[in-house]
Symmetry: C2
Subunit: 217 residues, 2 copies
DNA sequence: CAGAGGTCGACTGTTTACAGTCGCCGTGTT
DNA sequence: AACACGGCGACTGTAAACAGTCGACCTCTG
């Protein structure tokens, strides 16, 4: 196998570059689910030492992209239908909290603006590649979490992000993208704007349920 | 032979031992918040090499017990009142999902039994040390997440566990323990038993809100 | 031919060594 | 006295080496 490029991240530590490269390799399918990850092999691909690689792998493991087998053997995690549904349940819970938090803000104009901008970016990406559309979709949801100002919430969501990407990849990008609807996002923002936390929660739950359903179909 | 089985169970990697030791050191206050963590210093304390230590630190970092400063300098995370409230918000969201999931199970008898057993253990610990009482309390909540069978949910909760422990420590064990009520837990189980997800959610939220309020007071 | 060793190879666990960087502090200059 | 400079020490980033373990395959023996 050819080397995995570490482009665009020259400023950061090798560990972070490796982490990003591995994440991409896994969520893009270059490293297919179930694949056994051999440290010496990967460190050669990435042109880094094993020690540095191992640090990155620990992080990946915690994110759930990599799972441990006997004697520390690592492999790319394989997601089955139930796991995808589970991931989306947790995702829905986190994003519902995000929406509720935003609903309770006294002044939501700035928040609404940012969210609408994110939706706009998504509309612009309609003509782009599948990957770009997925990115813009995840951006919206990540933005929602970030705008709450709750770092713990954002961090929890981000540690789920890799699994979400894998879910989409697992089911095929087409399916994942087909489910992405600008309308749904507009509904969420509208609910937040009126401060209706219950409606926002229900909208998000429906969004997540149908997304999970499409992915496992 | 018993010895063979025991060998497999008690032998963990140095990394895991170090991880557990560091977690304990931080949540017990031996390593106070804000303290700068020097790798060579820690590796000497723990009698392990820096490489092994660094892997453990990455995991600790992801759990939020350790935060990174300039040039990779790590220090024990310091939680302020807002962060504690934020952590408990996310915790409430996750446990609400757990309760709702359990409410939707067709046959909940086994679950109810396990939860009541956990509460029983908590009552037994009433006479124990403060640490033991905190442990039994966390056990109940962790059990609730585990019983859902949603590994992602359990994992998300567990990655918050360290922060929860820090919150309790930050406010002083007495305060944390004073807030632990067997009644509250019984209320949660009762709600799950009747399948009333809304009631379970509200009970958990109140529980979490008041816990956070006590801790930051 | 079956099965008990026994060597080999492939990995992971762990340690040790080396390189780079930043702040500190003393020194010399003006 | 203020300031620029340069050596020094303290850390982190990174690499390379060493050790232990388990499975595969091969061989010898009954």
């Amino acid at each position: 196998m050819a080397t995995i490029a570490l482009l665009g991240l020259e400023k950061k530590s090798l560990r972070e570059q490796a982490l990003a490269a591995l994440r991409t390799a896994i969520t893009s399918g270059a490293l297919e689910p179930g694949r056994h990850l051999v440290e010496t092999e990967l460190s050669e691909m990435l042109q880094i030492s094993r020690g540095t690689l191992r640090e990155a792998l620990r992080q990946l493991q915690q994110e759930g992209l990599v799972s441990a087998g006997a004697r520390g053997r690592l492999s790319v995690r394989h997601l089955d239908a139930k796991e995808i549904r589970d991931i989306y349940s947790v995702r829905a819970a986190l994003e519902s909290l995000a929406a509720r938090t935003l609903c309770e803000l006294p002044d939501r104009q700035h928040v609404i603006g940012s969210l609408r901008a994110s939706i706009q970016a998504m509309e612009s990406a309609t003509q782009g590649t599948l990957e770009e559309r997925v990115e813009s979709d995840l951006d919206f949801h990540r933005t929602m979490c970030r705008l709450t100002g709750n770092e713990t919430l954002l961090h929890s969501w981000e540690s789920l992000e890799g699994s979400i990407r894998m879910s989409i990849m697992f089911a095929g990008l087409e399916k994942g993208v087909r489910n992405m609807s600008v309308d749904r996002h507009n509904d969420i923002v509208a609910a937040i704007e009126t401060g209706d936390a219950t409606l926002a929660r229900d909208t998000i739950r429906e969004h997540m349920d149908s997304a999970a359903a499409v992915l496992v179909a």
